[in-house]
């Protein structure tokens, strides 16, 4: 074993030898090493988080045909550090009647819930926090703490806008969790395991090929869970100003912001792990764990970029449309997909891998085509209904306002 093939274990063994050599009892030394490992992983994620601010601002600028931050440092890369210093020295305002303890706890929880998720992400075959055998369930469990922090923040800040934001967030949570769970079951079915590392190991063919529809639904549900546009109803500026973080200033707001960005990046990472083959890239991961970790980060950034693309392209939708979209479309589709995947997986067992891949892909393509046909039929009926009403009422002009102005002149 050397540093290149197994860096984490190498350093851990070296530290263990050093500490026990100093006369430290074995259990204390291993606990200390675990603690150091956690601190390193958390600091790494915080560092990435700081650069995510820069990436987000650069990308949104490009989408809106601007330059973005370009003054502080090369390509404006020092900008986030300047932002942090500004946030740190801002006065911290606690509103009257706020529940002090919960008000201060909520931003901490918001960032903590995201950091917790990184405990199970396999960065490489040998670089991971833990390889929990219930990994997929852990994502749901730890991810829900983020929503809890939003509800706590809104309730504690004693503000009506914040309260409305929290109520909307609950609506999102109770609906989009269902298709998300159902689509997380599909990689579990295909890999036969809930452990993240095993799911990655079994992806000789990326699951985005075997289950493209599941990948799509997972992405949509993840965007909704993140509370990003087009599902950012909990902080809709035009309606409730800033939603749940309306009363937060300075570093507390900064923590919410950092948590939100890292959450999006994390779900990009989970999307990569569950559907894009995690750290695997056509044998390139065999070069070494560090290369594998870089591959995973690149894929996570790709997922994050997709989330940003959707965010800056699609408009915010109304809450009843959002719930209807989830319960009348995504949820039934996700469960039909789950049933078909399980059935095809059982039927195609024992066939050659080529037939298996083709069967799975065809199932998805046919289901997708059927869905599109059904939607097309429904929209045609809806259009005919609306046009029928329009002809019955017989509007005098398509632009009543302009006609009125003409009449006045």
């Amino acid at each position: 074993m050397n540093f290149w093939t197994n860096p984490v274990n190498f350093v851990a063994q070296w530290l263990l030898g050093l500490l026990t050599g100093w006369g430290m009892p074995g259990w204390l030394a291993s606990l200390l090493i675990q603690f150091i490992g956690v601190v390193v992983l958390v600091s790494m994620m915080m560092l990435i988080d700081i650069f995510l601010v820069w990436i987000e601002r650069k990308v949104v600028a490009r989408f809106q045909d601007r330059l973005g931050p370009n003054r502080v440092g090369p390509f404006g890369m020092i900008q986030p550090f300047a932002d942090i210093i500004k946030l740190l020295i801002k006065e911290d305002i606690t509103p009257d009647g706020a529940d002090k303890l919960i008000y201060n706890l909520a931003p901490v929880l918001s960032l903590m819930s995201v950091l917790l998720l990184w405990a199970i992400v396999p960065l490489a075959p040998v670089i991971f926090g833990v390889d929990l055998n219930v990994g997929v369930l852990y994502i749901i469990a730890a991810g829900a703490i983020g929503t809890l922090s939003i509800i706590l923040a809104a309730w504690a800040s004693n503000n009506k806008f914040a309260l409305v934001g929290a109520f909307r967030q609950v609506a999102v949570l109770v609906s989009f969790e269902v298709p998300m769970l159902a689509t997380m079951l599909i990689p579990t079915v295909l890999a036969g395991s809930m452990g993240m590392n095993e799911i990655v190991q079994s992806q000789n063919v990326w699951y985005i090929v075997l289950a493209p529809l599941a990948g799509l639904i997972f992405m949509v549900a993840a965007i909704a869970e993140l509370g990003r546009a087009p599902f950012d109803l909990n902080e809709a500026e035009s309606e409730i100003v800033a939603g749940y973080h309306i009363e937060y200033t300075g570093m507390k707001f900064g923590l919410f912001y950092a948590g939100e960005l890292l959450h999006a990046f994390t779900f990009g990472g989970f999307w990569a792990v569950l559907f894009l083959g995690g750290y695997r890239f056509f044998g390139l991961e065999n070069l070494g764990p560090i290369v594998a970790a870089v591959i995973l980060m690149a894929k996570a950034l790709f997922g994050y970029w997709l989330i940003m693309w959707v965010r800056y392209t699609v408009m915010r939708i109304r809450i009843d449309h959002m719930l209807a979209f989830n319960w009348k479309f995504l949820t039934p589709l996700a469960f039909v997909l789950l049933m078909l995947t399980a059935l095809m997986n059982a039927l195609l067992r024992g066939t050659s891998s080529g037939v298996y891949i083709l069967g799975m892909l065809l199932t998805n393509v046919i289901l997708g085509w059927v869905i599109i046909e059904i939607l097309r039929g429904l929209s045609r009926r809806e259009r005919e209904r609306i046009e029928g009403v329009a002809t019955v009422k017989n509007f005098p002009s398509p632009h009543p306002l302009s006609q009125g102005e003409r009449g006045k002149g």
């Binding site: 740190l88 309260l163 009363e247 570093m251 209807a324 039909v336």
Partner: protein
């Protein structure tokens, strides 16, 4: 196995300490000049009328009930999904029947008009 959960516990502590440290730093270096206007509840410049912790009619409570059913049932589906590779076709079909019963519940709620915004 226990070590895994110990690691998660450590992660919980460190993950909470890092943001808490940021807040602590801010508390030390940031100015503190509170006044009543600054601390009043933000409502676009208007004075707040009445209680802020208002009673709110959650119009989606039916969705929450449907969610509860689905969330509990999908937890039962995870063991089935994990062991699917070793199950016979009959057991797979049984799982599918289970999902169909779930969907029947959803269709019932749909037909009853419970999935409409009230």
């Amino acid at each position: 196995m226990q070590n895994d959960w110990l690691y998660i516990g450590l992660f919980l502590v460190v993950g909470a300490l890092v943001p808490a440290m940021a807040l602590m730093t801010s508390w030390i270096v940031a100015p503190k000049k509170p006044n009543p206007i600054k601390q009043s509840t933000y409502e676009c410049g208007m004075e707040t009328v009445g209680e802020n912790w208002v009673q709110f009619k959650a119009q989606y409570y039916i969705f929450a009930l449907v969610f509860l059913v689905f969330d509990v049932e999908t937890v039962f589906l995870f063991p089935w999904a994990v062991s699917l590779g070793q199950l016979s076709l009959f057991a797979v079909v049984e799982g599918i029947v289970f999902i169909l019963i779930l969907i029947a519940g959803l269709i019932y709620a749909w037909r009853k008009g419970m999935l409409e915004w009230v």
